[in-house]
């Protein structure tokens, strides 16, 4: 067996605890063509708050021009057009944007100062060398993946830019999730993507996506990627609004969500194509975001009893092992956090057993709540039990399980005040703040898998368990925040959006079998 690399890719490293990353927003050309820049792109910039904006293919030339450059003071750069250098104040991170490496000075410290940030590059910790020189070709006929352009790229790279611990090579021609360590006989090059998928690569990649890409970039070379659907921003981010309706809203002078929240559903219903139903939904959606509150819609009943909030960490996208079951017993602020985590390499069930004992003993009868629980956490726990501890299956199955995401979006019982339905985004809109950075589900899974794969090695890998548990704690507290907001909202009758207008308690009795 080949020894497992414990740090296969620099981009996946954990950054320093508490470090604030530099944020890059990558905008592909079609986004600017297809969406209203003043509405969608402006809102995205406001929401994401990037330090720098880069234009990516296809048609990157459309991006680094007015109107985009006119709506923001943040530098908008097209690396394929000209060389520029940007230091992000305080982070020790330098971005070198070049059409080809020929444009580079001999070493990173020779980068012309006048184009940089105020502090110069004395404290340089990591340099991201951004171009669009590299692309990926997947050739199933020959069962190979090729990094196109790499030979020319490396040929033109000055010798002062070879240090793998200092330089990450970023290409806008590679999709943002792509990362690799390219090895030649003498050197190793960390490579990362920063663009949308451009070439046809098969079923695994949705090549039709032209998303907005947010890269959180750290001073140790770690990069976290998050993609955003442009339709989550601006007027189209409101429920029931597509491009045509957004256009009509603008025609009637409703240029922002605030403007819509400030009018009445009745006024909206006068616009062509807006029935009463659409007008009400749009208004609610705008109100939710404007007031930062969950807006209840018709129907829906939250479970009785104090919920147990859970979040599981698994060994992969469709993983079979819930190696960490994070539990929050109590409210978002004061609740007690219990991490049930796998302790030994070869004991995948002890911690789940402990969790089930706690749940059936201490927390008997209380509903279990998980974000996207029906789609992820609940079935994974069930499969895990079926395989390793079947004696618990009945207890688990008969427990009332509740998924706030399903309740709000699929069943349509509430509207969240966020631009997307990601837990972090929804909770943040409701005032929750994260306390950890640089970890996501993918990183956590990788840490766990590396631990498992090096189990038989004498110096086997030891993840920073505290940090992973803290990340999970962040999520269950975010979940509790959202749940509490749903509770608040359900106490208000539909149609009374203003926070002050709370009326008496509503009956919350419902049949427990509704969602089981």
């Amino acid at each position: 067996m080949v020894p497992v690399e414990t740090d296969p890719l620099p981009g996946t490293r954990l950054p320093q605890e508490g470090e604030t990353p530099a944020t890059v927003l990558a905008i592909p050309g079609p986004v600017v063509k297809q969406y209203d820049v003043h509405d969608v792109v402006a809102d995205a910039i406001e929401a994401i708050g990037p330090d720098i904006i880069i234009a990516t293919p296809p048609n990157s030339t459309h991006v680094a021009l007015p109107p985009v450059t006119r709506i923001t003071d943040i530098p908008v750069v097209d690396p394929s057009r000209s060389a520029s250098y940007h230091a992000v104040g305080g982070s020790g991170v330098l971005f070198a944007m070049v059409p080809t490496p020929d444009h580079l000075p001999p070493t990173p410290t020779d980068v012309p100062r006048e184009t940089g940030g105020s502090g110069g590059f004395a404290g340089l910790e990591h340099c991201y060398l951004v171009s669009n020189c590299l692309e990926l070709t997947i050739d199933p006929h020959h069962r190979e993946t090729r990094l196109e352009g790499i030979d020319e790229y490396l040929d033109s790279l000055p010798d002062g830019w070879l240090d793998e611990s200092l330089i990450t090579h970023v290409s806008t021609g590679l999709r943002a999730e792509y990362q690799a360590r390219y090895e030649t006989a003498t050197d190793t090059y960390p490579i990362h993507g920063a663009g949308p998928p451009t070439s046809s690569v098969g079923a695994a990649i949705d090549e039709n996506e032209r998303p907005l890409i947010e890269l959180s970039v750290y001073s140790n070379g770690a990069i976290r990627v998050e993609t955003h659907d442009p339709t989550n921003f601006g007027l189209q981010g409101l429920e029931g609004i597509g491009p045509t309706k957004a256009e009509r809203l603008r025609d009637h002078g409703f240029n922002s969500r605030d403007a819509i929240a400030g009018t009445t559903p009745k006024a909206l219903a006068k616009i062509r194509g807006f029935g009463e139903k659409t007008a009400t939904a749009v208004h609610k959606s705008a109100t939710a975001i404007a007031t930062g509150e969950v807006v209840p819609r018709d129907g829906g009943t939250l479970p009785n009893g104090d919920p147990v909030f859970i979040d599981v960490e698994t060994n992969g996208f469709n993983g079979e092992i819930a190696w960490l079951v994070g539990v929050l017993d109590g409210g978002s602020e004061e609740g007690h956090y219990l991490p049930f985590r796998q302790q030994e390499h070869d004991d995948p069930i002890g911690h789940v057993d402990a969790f089930m004992s706690w749940l059936t003993g201490v927390a008997g009868g209380r509903p279990v709540v998980a974000w996207n629980g029906y789609g992820f956490d609940f079935p994974i726990i069930k499969r895990h039990l079926e395989r390793d501890a079947p004696e618990w299956v009945d207890d688990w199955e008969s427990r009332y399980q509740f998924d706030p995401l399903y309740y709000a979006t699929t069943q349509g019982h509430a509207t969240f005040p966020a631009r997307s339905n990601r837990l972090e985004a929804v909770a943040a809109a409701l005032g929750w703040e994260s306390t950890t950075t640089g970890v996501d589900g993918g990183t956590a899974a990788r840490e766990y898998n590396t631990w498992q794969q090096t189990a038989n090695q004498s110096d086997g890998y030891q993840p920073d368990w505290d940090r992973l548990e803290a990340y999970c704690e962040d999520d269950v507290r975010a979940l509790a925040t959202v749940y509490e907001a749903l509770q608040d909202a359900s106490r208000r009758p539909p149609g009374t959006e203003m926070p002050k207008n709370r009326t008496g308690e509503q009956s919350r009795q419902g049949s427990l079998s509704d969602f089981s």
Binding site: M1, V2, V4, E5, P8, L9, L136, I138, D139, P140, H141, R143, E144, T145, E177, Y178, Q179, A180, S200, V201, G202, A203, A204, I205, D206, N208, E209, N315, G316, F317, N318, G319, E320, Y374, G375, F376, P379, I380, K382, R383, E386, G442, A445, R446, N449, T450, Q452, Q453
Partner: protein
């Protein structure tokens, strides 16, 4: 059973038909009499427990008994008996047995069409209720309501679905509640009408079934398979290729039938039109005398109307291009024009009809209240319509398998039946009318399905990884060890499978969500084109990229369900690529011209025939530019306008192909043996630099004709759709392994779908049939005709083309085989 003095029906026999048909003028070119067969039965209690046997109202046919016995012996079975021989009863009884042994046992049944799924749901429910088996059978597909789905997953004993559905349900095995129960207890998988799975769709189905089997291992389930197919030449091989399991073949049909005549019917020459043309001294065009033949559709309508007037319920099968609505009208018209002028109640049946309408017609057929139905091949499959008196097949359906399925529809129990095949106007029909024994040989085509397409494999591997991490235990079922590990490495390097780990550790999927949604079973690259009509509805399957570029470019005219359409727009870059069409009646047709280049040959197999003759199979890059098209007049065949640009991007295929390379001096030796005068170069040849030499031109026409002939007649041996095959012939090719002239036959789909591989493996038989047909085609023209070597898909306007030289070249190759 004894039949006293057989009373042949007044019209349901060859003789009676000839006698009664108005103005009969010798249309029948051949016929076959199939004597009645008694049921061959086995007492049910010998095979199945009394509990079930007592519930049956009749004994088991021998094939049913054999099938059930094999299943009891833990074997998988593939049943190839005729359409109404009671194949469903075999698996219904197996479901019943499994249920009685274990009330938790489940079964999964997969059907190629939704209509068939609903029909079989009723049948299974009725049977199992009759036998007092307490079980629940449900359809689970795209039409099932969301709230019902959860209940079905959690509680149904038998689930009926289709392959495209299964492709998206499998990855949800551990997120949608109920699947784990269903898979844990799965004891039987039925794949009905499995011969339908060939070509691109077959490749996908083979991988979907492999994914299913691989996932079932994780659920500790090891179900048995029952496959049913029409009669095909290679049932065991086909079943194995689809599932990667071993099978016992059940092919001795024990079901009874009455006497049956099968009649081949050639539409007569329309003497009147012919005389008129002669009077005006008109030049016979490409079609020659054939142009004056009454069309297949008209003639079939006459036969159907005649049978219906004689109170015989008749089902007319129309080809994909003929419209069932138009056929129904024609039957009505023919009935009115009949000497015994009469109204017949005629219906059209096709996939585009609503569920309710379809069900209504099925019931009318069953109850015998409709006189005639014009149908697409949709009614070829096992939908229960009871027995009918006669079938009329309008144009050979492309395969013997299909033809026999259609014929199987005629006959109620043991009554007499008649089936008429009205010949159409292409090479296959022409071959069959000239060689009727072909139809009645004991032989049928092999079904062709390939799992070699790397693109399709690569995509399903991603979905499999999403279903459950890949490990080295998956080698074998998810591809041989090397293939699996190389493809996994490819995806790891692309970043869609977890990096830094190997199959020993298990490799997780890390690509975008829902990869299964980007698999299209009509295409190998996931970029299928949907067809929309801008001024109405059109029920058209999605189209693979390769066909979209050639046949559905902007301005292309095509026939679908009897209507002509024009492509008005093609959206290549849309999220879901789209072909927008408009209904048009133009009197024209279009022909796409192409430039083709074959390079980077990678031979995988070859057969040295000696003396410089060699057969090859392998892979290559095939670059095709369908840049231009011509518009022709339908009646004269002349070019009315063009060439026009198609707007289709160039197509680059990396695909499978076979080629025949000939000795370097073959041109001169062939020419020296010719005693007929050389064909004068046509206008096209004069424009074609490099082929200006008359000898070269003649030879090129010959090798081109051989190439066309092989492609057009390959479906005589193999169940393949030859519009997914392309060819190229040339007196010289730059590849150094090719010393002289060569012709290529390539899969027209990227990555290949096994067609040219099958042609390579069956080359001798195909070449022989092609040679015979080129020799005897009625046209006897040097240039050939659409019934022999002319092809509507030719990118060179069928130029140069030389039937006589083509036959000689084929003969030279056959002498070496």
């Amino acid at each position: 059973m004894s039949r006293n003095a057989p009373q042949r029906d007044d019209v349901l026999s060859e003789e009676a038909l000839k006698e009664s048909f108005p103005d009969y003028s010798g249309q029948v070119t051949a016929s076959e009499h199939v004597p009645a067969r008694d049921a061959d039965t086995v007492p049910a209690e010998e095979i199945i427990r009394d509990e079930l046997a007592n519930q049956l109202d009749n004994d088991l046919y021998r094939h049913q008994a054999k099938g059930l016995k094999a299943l009891a012996d833990d074997e998988n079975i593939v049943v190839t008996t005729s359409t109404s021989s009671g194949k469903t009863r075999i698996y219904a009884l197996q479901i019943a047995r499994n249920q009685l042994d274990n009330p938790d046992a489940t079964a999964l049944c997969i059907y190629p069409m939704k209509a068939l799924t609903r029909d079989q749901e009723r049948t299974l429910n009725d049977r199992l209720a009759e036998w007092d088996v307490d079980t629940r059978t449900e359809v689970y597909d795209g039409d099932t309501k969301r709230d019902r789905k959860r209940d079905i997953r959690s509680n149904a004993d038998t689930i009926l679905t289709n392959p495209a559905g299964l492709n998206v349900y499998l990855p949800r095995h551990n997120t949608d509640s109920g699947w784990s129960r269903f898979y844990n207890n799965l004891e039987l998988i039925v794949v009905d009408e499995a011969h339908q799975y060939s070509g691109v769709m077959g490749t996908h189905v083979a991988w979907i079934l492999r994914r299913l089997r691989r996932l079932l291992k994780y659920y500790n389930a090891d179900p048995q398979f029952v496959l049913t197919t029409a009669t095909i030449g290679n049932p065991a091989e086909h079943a194995t290729r689809l599932t990667s399991e071993e099978f016992t073949v059940i092919d001795e049909d024990g079901s009874p039938h009455g006497e049956r005549d099968i009649v081949l019917w050639k539409p007569p020459i329309d003497e009147e039109a012919f005389r008129e043309a002669e009077e005006y001294n008109m030049d016979p065009s490409e079609g020659g005398l054939e142009e004056f033949r009454i069309s297949t559709g008209e003639e079939a309508a006459k036969v159907t109307a005649h049978l219906a007037i004689n109170k015989r319920q008749t089902l007319q099968f129309c080809s994909a291009r003929q419209g069932t609505e138009i056929a129904a009208q024609k039957i009505g018209g023919a009935a009115r024009d009949h000497p015994r002028g009469y109204y017949v109640d005629t219906k059209a049946y096709h996939g585009g009809l609503g569920k309710r309408t379809r069900r209504g017609i099925e019931a009318q057929l069953q109850d015998g209240v409709v006189d005639a139905v014009a149908s697409t091949n949709a009614l070829e499959l096992g939908i229960d319509i009871g027995g009918i008196d006669a079938t009329v097949t309008s144009g050979y359906p492309g395969t013997r398998q299909s033809f026999w399925q259609q014929i199987g529809r005629a006959g109620r129990g043991q009554t007499d039946a008649l089936s008429v095949l009205v010949g159409g106007a292409d090479a296959m029909d022409s071959y069959i009318l000239d060689n009727p024994s072909y139809l009645f040989e004991d032989d049928v085509e092999d079904a062709v399905v390939s799992i070699e397409n790397e693109q399709v494999y690569a995509d399903h591997l991603c979905v499999a990884a999403k279903e459950r991490r890949l490990t080295d235990e998956d080698a074998g079922i998810l591809g041989e060890e090397d293939r699996l590990s190389e493809m996994v490495s490819m995806w790891q390097e692309a970043g869609v499978l977890e990096r830094g780990v190997d199959l020993e550790n298990g490799v997780h999927y890390t690509g975008d969500t829902r990869p299964e949604s980007r698999i299209s079973i009509y295409d190998t690259s996931g970029r299928q084109y949907i067809v929309n009509c801008i001024d109405g509805e059109i029920d058209h399957d999605p189209v693979a990229k390769e066909r979209a570029y050639r046949d559905y470019h902007k301005g292309a005219l095509f026939l679908h369900d009897g209507e002509q359409y024009e492509v008005v727009e093609v959206e290549h870059d849309a999220r879901t690529p789209r072909i927008l069409v408009e209904e048009r009646t133009t009197g024209r047709y279009t022909q796409t011209l192409s430039d083709k280049r074959i390079s980077n040959l990678r031979p995988e197999m070859s057969q040295d025939l000696g003396n410089g003759y060699k057969l090859w199979f392998g892979r290559a890059n095939v670059d095709i530019d369908y840049a231009q098209y011509l518009v022709h007049n339908i009646s004269t065949g002349e070019v009315e306008s063009g060439p026009h640009p198609t707007g289709s991007p160039p197509l680059s295929l990396d695909t499978e192909l076979m080629w025949v390379s000939l000795p370097s001096d073959h041109l001169s030796t062939t020419i020296s043996r010719l005693d007929e005068p050389l064909l004068q170069p046509t206008k096209h040849a004069e424009e074609d630099t490099g082929l200006t030499e008359p000898e070269q031109y003649t030879y090129a026409g010959g090798i081109h004709a051989a190439e066309h002939g092989i492609i057009q007649l390959a479906p005589l041996e193999l169940m393949i759709d030859n519009s997914d095959i392309g060819g190229l012939s040339t007196p010289r090719h730059p590849d150094e392994r090719i010393p002289g002239p060569v012709w290529f036959v390539h899969d027209g789909i990227d990555g290949g779908i096994g067609f040219s591989r099958a042609i390579y493996n069956n080359f001798e038989n195909i070449a022989e049939r092609t040679y015979d047909h080129l020799d005897t085609c009625d046209c006897q023209r040097r240039r050939g005709c659409p019934l022999c070597v002319m092809s509507e898909h030719c990118g060179n306007q069928n130029d140069p083309l030389d039937r006589v030289v083509g036959r000689q070249i084929l003969g030279d190759v056959m002498d070496r085989l």
